[in-house]
Amino acid sequence: MLESENIACRGKSVLRLLPCPLHWSSISLLALVCVLMCNAPIAAQTENHSTTAHDRVMTRSPFVIGFERFGKHGELPELQAGSLLIGELSCVNCHHSKDDWLQPKRGPRLNGVGNRLQQEWLRRYLSDPQVVKPGTTMPDVLSSLTVDQRAEAIDALVAFLSTQQQPFAVLKADGIAPVIHEFWKRGNRERGAEWYHSIGCVACHEPDADYETDEAKPSAIDELLEELDEEQIAELGLSAAARRVESIPHGDLPSKYTLRSLTMMLLDPSIVRPNSRMPSLRLTPQEAADIAAYLLGENVSNETGYENDQPLQQLIDRGRSLFVELRCANCHESTGVKDERQAKPLAQLDADARSSCFESPTADMARYHLDDAQRKAMLSILKGGVTPKRTASDAVSFRMLQLNCYGCHERGERGGVGRYRKAYFETVGHVDLGDEGRLPPSLTGVGRKLLPQALAAVFHPKTTPHRPYMTIRMPTYSADAVKPLLTQMAKADEVDRSKDDEVFSEPQSASIGREMVNTGCVQCHPFRGESLPGVVGIDLNDVTARVDPQWFHEFLFNPNELKNRTRMPTFFPNGKSNRPDLLEGNVDHQISAIWAYLKNLEKEPLPEKIEAARIANYELVPEERPIVLRTFMDAAGTHAIAVGFPAGVHYAFDAEHVRLAIAWKGRFLDARGTWFERFAPPAQPLGEQLVNFPLGPPFRADDPREYQFRGYRLDSKGVPTLLYKYGDLLIEDRIEPNGDTGLKRTLTIAADSSDAGVLLRAHAGKKLVATGSRAYKNDGGLMVTVSESLARAGTLQQSDDQQEWLVPLLIKDHMTIELEYQWRIAR
């Protein structure tokens, strides 16, 4: 567990902590300060711990967040409160019990403790856990030893633990996962402070009072609380909401960790702490290093202290047997130790014993430093006898207490981000979305809302966040850790699951759904990554795969009914549709149509308004001058040069095969794929009247000649003239609209010497039909017109599969040819 009020390391003012209401008593705080600040040897301090009464003053009790926040204030059923403590304090590791709820949290794995934690810290910690790490759930197992025995035991245990060495995980790096060499040395404290205060650490741990959050509108509930006095708060049942939530302490981290070990712990806490109380916050290596740098401050240690110190084998062996004898092994995994030493089973414990782990421990009992409330709650379980029946709802809330889901999420009027912490929960870019846009969602009724696979996905490390606009991150948990939530949530929320074809028994057309969402949804929601400018919200792309259809129906019908104070407006005020023109205003049918549209969103066109916004960004619209785009096109190949004209007639030239490839009318092209998509998809003509030009180049000769594309030149109006060579002939090819009905092509040929061996391929097709005296139309609907003189010289030539209109050219030094293209393609 981490802690932030770590007085010694960050040099924060101690006074800052004193005024905190409901913090531990000022006396214990001062005592702690004394301990941490004085340089007296630890042994001397532990000597002072001779009476129980003194202990209560000097040390804190174990900190179990669910109990501190709710149990202490009578907000948990007795059964939950006591069970929670027994589990979190791992009682059952020694005092066997089969009761599900009492199963132990267990301590961290110690297999790698020898290269993770600092030797000196470990020594001090073992000598008095609750003083060195206030709030720890580890008991003092040496409490009944004499001072000398204790010192000897610590030497032996530390010697044994120094042998627990385990290499750190090696992180996978590739083109999409940057991992800098020795990244743990490259943390940045300022950035670490930002991460710490924005991504969720302070949902459980103490924020730095000096950290300035960006200005955010206070939460509505907090605003209300500010206005009320205590009595009114109690009357309104807001006592829990008004209470400052205590922070899970993280102890003296700089004395405990090295930069590397803390960075690696943050990156994947489950390696050392499989109990999931500290979850992974999906950190990148760099973020973990930044946070570690922030938490450790300036006095960073890169060594554990074991490095140059080889303890005697005898001492190690003694430590290993003590590790078992003192029952350390019951809670902590270590390498080479399998034995455990059980104590009396839980059911046989005497709740009224004069001497116990609770009170005045003797012999081999552990000392827990419990406070009165904790003792009372745990005793109620020991005295409890028959275990009452537990519901699915109990199972869910119990696991949420253990994992402190309540630190962020409200469910059933319990928990949620505590008062004074909400300022750390921000919306990316400070867009005002209200509390919904910055605080984790309420989980009341979530079993009804989310489909089982969607609920499971929430915990998965690979799932991308559904609310990317929140700075807070949903931590990851293994399926095992959240099993009670996955298996019991639906039952707890009394879900009567229906399939969508049952809920929407009369399927409606997706295109009407598209029109529906265009009316309202697009104002606040992106659709498969696209949105209106400035819109921030949950993407509706996979919503039908995530939410229950019945819930969807009810939520759309009346959002406030299912979600208190939501900003989602209803589009069916008083049960009547805003769009009476669609589906005769039938509300059920309209919601059904929206479902149908969203279900097929991957394939459906975007909502019209979003499509229009997208076009404004990426569609090339020639207004005053032509627009050129070099790209890939299906019809013009991978060397395509597309040219769009204000007149609304466009063409694409294939510069590889040196031919005019395709022409079309209306809208030109969308450049997004060419400009910004990694996989470089071919650009598709947006307009209509697409006409493919005959395959093959514009000229032919009997002698072998090669085409060489040479680029293009833009004139003062931006019209390109394509340049190429055919053998020694220099050709300039200018293609432009002929009014708005077709294209006019001017071929200018320059030759060094007179050349009579070239034929113009004026047209080609499976079948050419003469249209007047100087035009032919092919089977593709393309008509080519040439000058009368060329027409007179031209002949039709039939080959195996096509007819070509060939015109022999007599080129002296210079020649200009004009061709007109016209087409009208029936749709």
Partner: protein
């Protein structure tokens, strides 16, 4: 929506915050000319430029004779920027010079015209009437295969000492559908690639496209050294064990076997490869594959970056600090820049690489040196991932005038190495063999993605002799191995004022152990 000036301000401030350990910023200061966060992740299908317009995803850069900076951007424009030397750069102007280029990945100014390589051709951009807008887009060379696969990037051009232009062509990665129809028919060894994919090409002053060398995977950077010899960088992946720097010369094969698809094309300089060995340690693979040549420098993965990009020669004669004449190599994923020292042993280049600078705002794709010696750095990370807070932009790296204590050169010797430092070292620590740690390793030559360091050993440093001027240390080493990377960490060496090395690491690719004195 975010406002550009705010973003720029934040990014200007970022390098000022303390980074733990030695601080590169004390010696080389970053100035953000223009950087912008993208609204979406660099790998998102819906990636969008920042809403303020110009997507300055710099893919090519060069200076015009009047001192203005021309930049090519990935969406296909060339812009001319003025005011880039201002500090702070508050009055930069942008003028669109050319447009409609197909993913240009280089820019070179030559005799007043700009040259760029598009996916399908090398293009010369000419402004005929002096209005700072290109009028002619002339095809200088084309003819390499473009099947339509996205990975078939084309880079360059860069100019060598003979006045020839060089370009490099990415290999395609698994062609599909219509792409296969554009692959070379009857390609050698049955590989399916477009013509000259994975080759280094030269374009002579008469416009002839000449294939020179082959076996490239993703040759995103090329550049000449001070002698005018042309180099390229490759990126870890299939057949490529880790990032590397290679000397391009005729008939040489580097890594990626599928480049052999063009072996039988007219003009090919590689002949008679019948079988490509796979799964062998590099020294053995070199014996079995006679056209295969080791890189001049390996960049060990993670330690020296994850994706090498541009090559920039420091021609500033000291205006950019103590590394005049050396090469700088861009690093994409880690948003940084590395440094390379090269020497010739038995007529072949080999040498060492060193960390130089991290902490750029995004992936480094292009670098060019300004007239004042400062380095202009073009950034873009779209499609992959990088460190840094921006998706694209332009930053400038300025030497502060403070000389960092660095290993400037690492030279191979018959019995070890000679180190040259940028500043005099403390003879006690520098003369102590325990101040150094050396390991050596090689890689597997195989078709899978990247290679671990294999056959790792720890050569013994038997002596460290400090020269009289305290600038050089001669390391005598037992256990040198040819064709192995020799990694040196000189963590214990101190400068005269007790300072540690800014970067204690050096990685020497010891292809050949010199037999005589090399200097």
């Amino acid at each position: 929506m975010e406002n550009r000036s705010l973003i720029t301000t934040i990014l200007i401030l970022l390098p000022c915050v303390t980074v733990m350990g030695a601080d590169e910023n004390d010696y080389y200061r970053l100035i953000s000319v223009s950087t912008a966060s993208a609204a979406t992740e660099s790998r998102s299908k819906n990636w969008k430029p920042a809403p303020d317009g110009l997507a300055l995803e710099i893919s090519g850069m060069d200076f015009l004779d009047d001192g203005r900076l021309a930049v090519a951007i990935r969406k296909g424009d060339v812009w001319i920027l003025d005011g880039v030397y201002d500090d702070p750069p508050s009055n930069v102007t942008y003028n669109k010079f050319a447009t409609a280029l197909h993913e240009p990945l280089g820019l070179l100014q030559l005799d007043g015209d700009l040259y760029t390589t598009q996916r399908s051709e090398l293009t010369r951009l000419r402004d005929l009437d002096g209005d700072d807008v290109a009028d002619e887009y002339l095809t200088v060379a084309k003819g390499w295969g473009v099947t339509g696969h996205y990975h078939e990037y084309a880079y360059g051009p860069k100019l060598d000492g003979d006045g020839d232009l060089w370009i490099t062509l990415n290999i395609g990665l698994g062609l599909k559908g219509p792409e296969l129809k554009r692959a070379l028919p009857n390609a050698a060894l049955g590989y399916r690639q477009g013509r000259w994919r994975g080759w280094g090409m030269k374009v002579t002053s008469t416009g002839e496209l000449v294939p020179v060398c082959a076996g490239m995977r993703s040759p995103a950077g090329l550049g000449a050294n001070a002698d005018g010899d042309m180099f390229y960088t490759d990126q870890q992946g299939n057949w490529v064990a880790t990032n590397s720097l290679h000397h391009m010369r005729p008939g040489v094969f580097f890594h990626h076997a599928e480049a052999l698809a063009s072996m039988n094309e007219p003009g090919s300089t590689i002949h008679d490869v019948e079988k490509v060995p796979g799964g062998l340690p590099l020294p053995q693979a070199l014996k079995e594959f006679k056209q295969l040549r080791p890189p001049a420098v390996w960049f060990p993965y993670k330690k020296m970056g994850q994706s090498a990009t541009d090559i920039m020669l420091d021609e500033s004669d000291g205006k950019f600090g103590p590394f005049a004449g050396q090469l700088f190599v861009g690093e994409f994923t880690q948003a940084g820049i590395n440094r390379v020292f090269l020497e010739k042993v038995d007529g072949e280049y080999q040498g060492a690489c060193f960390p130089f600078r991290l902490g750029l705002a995004s992936a480094v794709l292009r670098m060019v040196q300004g007239a004042d010696g400062s380095m202009f750095i073009g950034l873009t990370n779209r499609g992959w991932s990088s460190l840094g807070d921006a998706s694209y932009g332009l930053q400038r790296l300025v030497w502060t005038g403070q000389t960092p204590l660095e290993i400037k050169e690492m030279r191979a010797q018959p019995d070890g190495f000679e180190l040259l430092f940028t500043l005099p070292v403390d003879p006690k620590t520098a003369g102590d063999v325990t101040s150094y740690r050396m390991t050596s390793y090689t890689y597997l030559y195989h078709s899978t993605y990247g290679s671990d360091e294999i056959q790792v050993e720890t050569p013994t440093i038997t002596a460290a002799e400090v020269s009289e001027d305290r600038l050089r240390v001669r390391l005598r080493v037992d256990g040198l191995r040819e064709l192995f990377v020799h990694e040196l960490v000189a963590a214990g060496v101190r400068g005269e004022s007790g300072q540690a090395l800014l970067h204690p690491e050096a990685y020497y690719t010891l292809n050949r152990i010199p037999t005589g004195q090399t200097r």
